[in-house]
Symmetry: C3
Subunit: 296 residues, 3 copies
């Protein structure tokens, strides 16, 4: 599947220009699939996208496919200008990439899975919509590397529930695996080189306080105010005319997006040859067994 | 007009090496034109350059032309080692680019204006002199995108008067227009990628406190201490030998300067085709009418 | 001499995997040369490398050669996973590059010296081991530009003794000389562009408090806790599997290392032609005389 070309959306100058005030019928539209539930408020132009794949919103191939489809639907919907990403599962945003997709499968499966991971990031990082992550928890019992953190990093703004038990980070190194270059570049863009270098080498899961201090999340709010605050932040962003904001976002992110597009197949091959190593497979199996024991 | 080649100034090793102590006659020299007033203190090697184009020091084509000429004069004057940029208009540093230059004019005019904007930045960002911005206010009633902020960003050091009513930022997005890539890169160099991305997308005008927190300005001082502090900061910078400092500055800034030099004509064409769009012209006219109403 | 290829070390998955618990004999091994003393604790996999070239651990050609040899020994020793760099001279980490190597010598000598400086950085910045700098002082009476700061900047983590008399920085500009591009890039990676630009132009020596605030050092501790804390930090880093951590480090640093490797001879020629200038030689002699007077 190809990537949505940047700025492919019809030029939008704010909802007011598109929707005459007399036409405020049918203000809410909802759609959902097995793992994701979306509700679009047409009066504000804001969609709420909730991950609902219990127990921990693992980013399986199915989940990522549905995520891309939902995102594309909104991207092509002129009534939608912004999307809030959050979770319908209490205390869990997403545990990250689903390890079972990376363990004991065929080369073809690894390729398909990794292409879906790339596609998710390409669509989200290049989205013409305003994207706000409302992180209502984190990979505490994370069954995998923190793809959930990557989703948050790819949004325009990150709000996190202020719970001392929550944490967030790209913890790949803890599993003996390595984040791809575009995870790394996205991370460096958000927290800077020094912090990214240390955090990635240590596979750090940062507490909410620390995540806020290093800029990994932009704002902390009490758990019960999370969605309310996300809606308020979204309203600030939507006060701007869409077209100039979109061109500005493209200017900031295009170099990085282009780098993955140019090296996409190579990146897939790297992933396959790394993940297929017996030492890595063993390390992932050990990690999964550890998680199973923890639960029981 | 061409750009001054980097490091074209005669090698200078500090005032002491050039001016025997017995020769301290005629210590102050002044020149001025319609919009800018310059006073050079030969004993310290410091020039004070004051914008005096009321009501808001709009960066018109005339202003930018005079600014470049003044800067070039100082650049070629061996008695001048540093320049402090400030305003002679109370409570206003500069309201930024003059919108009337971008509205309802010919293609040729747009080209000439944009070339002057580029030239101003190229000269200031590459200056061999120490450049300190003493921002005595900001585009509160800003009649345009914040070229005034760009001037401050292009200096070596930024001091701002601590007035809760003042603000500073690159607010292009609020007018429906987009900052060019070299505004963006200059901004990223100062505040980092995450902050720049959000600030540019929102067209934020930051309060003085926030501007200081994000590093957009280096230091806040009470309004009545602004020039005194600028002179003290300049003295610290001039305690260093010029040549090593100049080579270091070139090393830090050359990549970015080269990028605009290489894409200068393309950047002008981009500006012309963007600004000539009827939707953009309409947006600018609306903005100007809003400003007029505000004043009356 | 060539550079160690990145990741040339045999794959290591932590000490546990390589050393059966029953074999804990001969836990400590030491070696030393004229200027550097190394002690490797085989039970933890951690080497303590102490500079002992009084009075100020000047980075002479001999010192740098011995430093590279010591580093290579550890790099090739499967029992060693991390190295702590510190000084055996009280209150002095390193005064930086030895000016006498740059003054009144032959072109051949300058070339040999500069190649050794490059080699030191290439080996340290690309090390597969975890590298922690325990900065027990700084170039207070620094007889030269702060190569000592560069050594700290090239480590994975920097801890500094909290003594109000200590300072740290790249003070080249104060001597009228210019840091090479790879000093600059290493510095930018740690403190960001704005801070690096100002600090390099001013040749700033930062107090410990300021060094911590700008991120030049990661942590401050009381002088008597310095090594204890370094050992504790090292243990945190060694809790991670080596292979993923090493690949991550390579991913973060490779672009910068490659840039010097590609321009190595050019960089040597630049150094020679700059340092051979009579004005620079004079400036260095003046600086050395000032230091001599200060001492007597």
């Amino acid at each position: 599947p190809g990537v949505l070309p940047l700025c492919s959306r019809p030029q939008a100058w704010g909802r007011a220009a598109r929707q005459p005030p007399g036409l405020l019928l049918a203000q809410r539209r909802a759609f959902s699939n097995n793992k994701i539930q979306v509700e679009l408020d047409e009066s504000s132009g804001v969609a709420m996208m909730k991950f609902k794949s219990p127990p921990v919103n693992s980013l399986s191939l199915d989940f990522l496919t549905e995520f891309c489809i939902s995102l594309e639907k909104l991207e092509n919907d002129r009534a939608c200008r912004g999307v809030i990403l959050t979770s319908a599962v209490p205390k869990v945003f997403s545990s990250g990439l689903d390890i079972t997709e990376m363990c004991g499968k065929s080369t073809e499966h690894y390729a398909e899975f990794w292409r879906a991971v790339q596609e998710t990031w390409l669509r989200l990082y290049s989205s013409n919509m305003v994207t706000v992550a409302a992180v209502n928890a984190s990979p505490l019992d994370g069954s995998s590397p923190a793809g959930g953190c990557l989703i948050a990093l790819s949004c325009d703004y990150r709000i996190m529930a202020e719970n001392p038990k929550f944490s967030i980070g790209l913890n790949e190194a803890q599993l003996g695996i390595v984040a791809p270059f575009w995870f790394k570049d996205t991370f460096v863009n958000v927290v800077g080189h020094r912090v990214a270098e240390r955090s990635l080498q240590l596979g750090s899961l940062h507490s909410v306080t620390e995540a806020h201090r290093i800029g990994l999340v932009d704002e902390l709010v009490p758990e019960d105010k999370l969605k309310e605050r996300a809606v308020a932040v979204m309203a600030e962003w939507l006060a701007l005319p869409d077209h100039a904001r979109q061109l500005t976002k493209t200017m900031m992110r295009k170099a990085l997006l282009d780098r993955l597009v140019a090296h996409r197949e190579e990146d897939i091959q790297n992933f396959i040859s790394f993940i297929s190593k017996e030492s890595i497979q063993k390390s992932l199996r050990t990690y999964m067994e550890m998680l199973k024991k923890k639960k029981s």
